[in-house]
Amino acid sequence: MATLRLPAPLRDKLISAAQTGYPDEVCGLLLGRQDADAVTVCAVHAARNVHPDRTADRFLIEAQDYLDAEYEAAASGLQVVGVWHSHPDHPPRPSATDREFAWAGWSYPIVAVNAGVATELRSWRLEGETFDEEEVLS
């Protein structure tokens, strides 16, 4: 099982953003380092959910926000290592849509938010055509 190191302050940031944005899906990019045994998140980059019509159950990151994240990462010697998003009133498992749009090599943490309260965070990586869960350490 792959490992994602997500320090507690950053994890809190995701959870807080997910709750604030509820009932819409909230999304953002993870900047960090990819080592042999683990991915370490060093910063989170906020991104706007610009999905044209279904922000409650879909997300689409504004391209400019993605570009900014790339530049910010490069400036700090980091990489974009993943994308996180929230699942309002839904378990933190990747959906068919998530799989359809997923890129190999990235971590996909998902925060479940039930009735406005974040209840669970789990992270996934695309392996071939399916998502495998990865361990989340602080």
């Binding site: 999304c27 790339e70 994308v83 959906s95 068919a96 849509t97 749009f101």
Partner: protein, 483 residues
């Protein structure tokens, strides 16, 4: 030509040995991508579709502008040092109700690939194809249970009683099978898996399948009430369509039997009757009508039955059964329905049925009473008699009045002929308990059905074990003399 810097997003850096930017010389955005592809194999296919257009999941920015807004891949590069950024669409989401359900199902239903499914089937797992009939008509794995999705939970127990038997559920693409699999889990089946990718993938991987003969849309509509009965269903209807039933007589008993057997879709109906339609027949012989008085009964019957169900093949013999033609006519039929009104014919039919091992559904009527039985000594489940076991020889003519002499309540042959039709369908489909060794007697005045046991005669000249066939007898001469 300009020198441009192409920024590579992290998901594509595996193609550029980890480099986050690559410098190329090009005149347009499209050229720049081609130059990039030339240097880094595999990258172009992630960015462009096979036709060269930009893939929908990818955007390319020239400076701060999306090139889709500037005119696409043909956009000219302005100056040395311009920056082109490949930006992956970053998207996803929990999805709508359907996607959420599918995600939940995938978490609770194991999936196996088609190859694994085939291997498990060979080891005894039951492969259940839950696709619609029109899909199955295009092909279905060999040995699959084709139970349909709609009635799956209602029918599966009969087909697969063992809830510990591993089940592999297949649909077209692997989604409907998830729903079906969950339904079966709830029924108590403990080892249920869905075949990932469904029949599409099964076929694409070159695994064996067959093309079962299906029913065309007209047949599907016509026999809809049969198809919804699990005891008949598509396989049963197919069997009826492939069946051949011979009716001896297109009279009082043959009329209702023929009408319902044609309506039910028995594929071939043979009719033997030498007579012509008489006005006095019309009180009970509902195949015929007033306009056809004087016409051969077999022609009248053909017209009526084809009007009811044009897909039925009608074979007719406008002749009297004799020892010379009886085998030729009966040969190849699955069931014979005896609606004859005279002893010579009855004995010929019985003897030929015994010899050819064809079940003979026998009916007779007399005034207010009727009786039905099935003579079939070769019935595998139970040894019943043939007609000669009960009546080795015909009675003297004076003890055997025909309808013409004795009269019959017109509706009575309707009841008895339909009981014969019911027995026929049961025999064709292998349903229930046929009237072999049992005689059902109907008394219309008392409105009672009684059942009598009929035993085979161990010394029967015709059907007893080891007896050589004694030959056919034409009793016509005998009766004619007696009359």
């Amino acid at each position: 030509m300009s020198r441009v810097i192409v920024r590579i997003p992290t998901p594509l850096r595996s193609y550029t040995d980890g480099a986050d930017e690559v410098e190329v010389e090009a005149a347009t955005v499209g050229d720049a991508l081609q130059a990039l592809a030339h240097r880094h194999e595999g990258l172009l296919s992630r960015v462009c579709a096979a036709d060269g257009s930009l893939r929908p999941f990818v955007n390319i920015y020239l400076g701060a502008d999306n090139i889709r807004d500037l005119g696409g891949l043909a956009v000219a590069l302005p100056h040395d040092g311009a920056v082109l950024a490949i930006v992956p669409a970053v998207a996803g989401g929990a999805g709508g109700a359907r996607e959420r359900r599918i995600t939940e199902l995938k978490a609770s239903v194991p999936e196996v690939g088609p190859r694994e499914a085939l291997a498990q089937q060979a080891q005894g797992a039951a492969l259940i194809d839950v696709r619609e009939a029109d899909e199955i008509a295009q092909g279905s794995p060999r040995g699959a249970f084709r139970l349909g999705r709609g009635f799956l939970e209602l029918r599966v127990e009969e087909a697969i009683p063992d809830t510990d038997r591993p089940l592999l559920i297949m649909c077209g693409g692997g989604v409907r099978s998830l729903f079906a699999a969950e339904g079966l889990q709830r029924l108590g089946y403990r080892k249920v898996a869905s075949v990932a990718g469904g029949f599409s993938r099964w076929k694409a991987e070159g695994l064996p399948f067959e093309t079962p003969r299906g029913l065309d849309p007209h047949a599907r509509e016509r026999y809809a009430r049969h198809l919804t009965m699990p005891e008949v269903g598509e396989a049963g209807q197919r069997r009826l369509l492939d069946s051949r039933v011979l009716l001896i007589g297109a009279g009082g008993l043959g009329s209702p039997a023929a009408l319902y057997l044609a309506a039910a879709g028995v594929g071939t109906l043979g009719i033997v009757d030498h007579d012509v339609v008489d006005r006095s027949n019309l009180q009970r012989q509902i195949l015929h009508n007033d306009e056809r008085i004087g016409q051969p009964k077999v022609d009248s019957a053909r017209r009526t039955l084809q009007g009811l169900n044009p897909s039925v093949d009608i074979a007719t013999w406008a002749e009297r059964l004799t020892s010379a033609n009886v085998e030729r006519i009966l040969e190849g039929y699955d069931v014979v329905v005896d609606g004859s009104d005279n002893f010579p014919t009855r004995y010929l039919v019985n003897d030929a049925c015994v010899r050819l091992q064809i079940p003979c559904v026998h009916g007779s009527v007399y005034r207010f009473e009727g009786q039905v039985t099935v003579f079939w000594p070769a019935y595998p489940t139970r040894r019943g008699p043939c007609y000669r076991c009960l009546y080795p020889e015909p009675p003297p003519a004076e003890f055997a009045p025909s309808c013409a002499d004795a009269g019959v309540l017109g509706v009575l042959p309707g009841v008895v002929g339909l009981l014969e039709a019911v027995e026929t369908i049961k025999l064709l489909l292998g349903l229930g308990d046929p009237l072999v060794g049992r005689l059902l007697h109907y008394d219309a005045l008392r409105a009672r059905f009684d059942e009598y046991r009929l035993a085979a005669n161990p010394d029967c000249a015709l059907c007893a074990e080891g007896r050589a066939f004694p030959g056919y007898v034409d009793y016509d001469a005998f009766c004619a003399t007696a009359a």
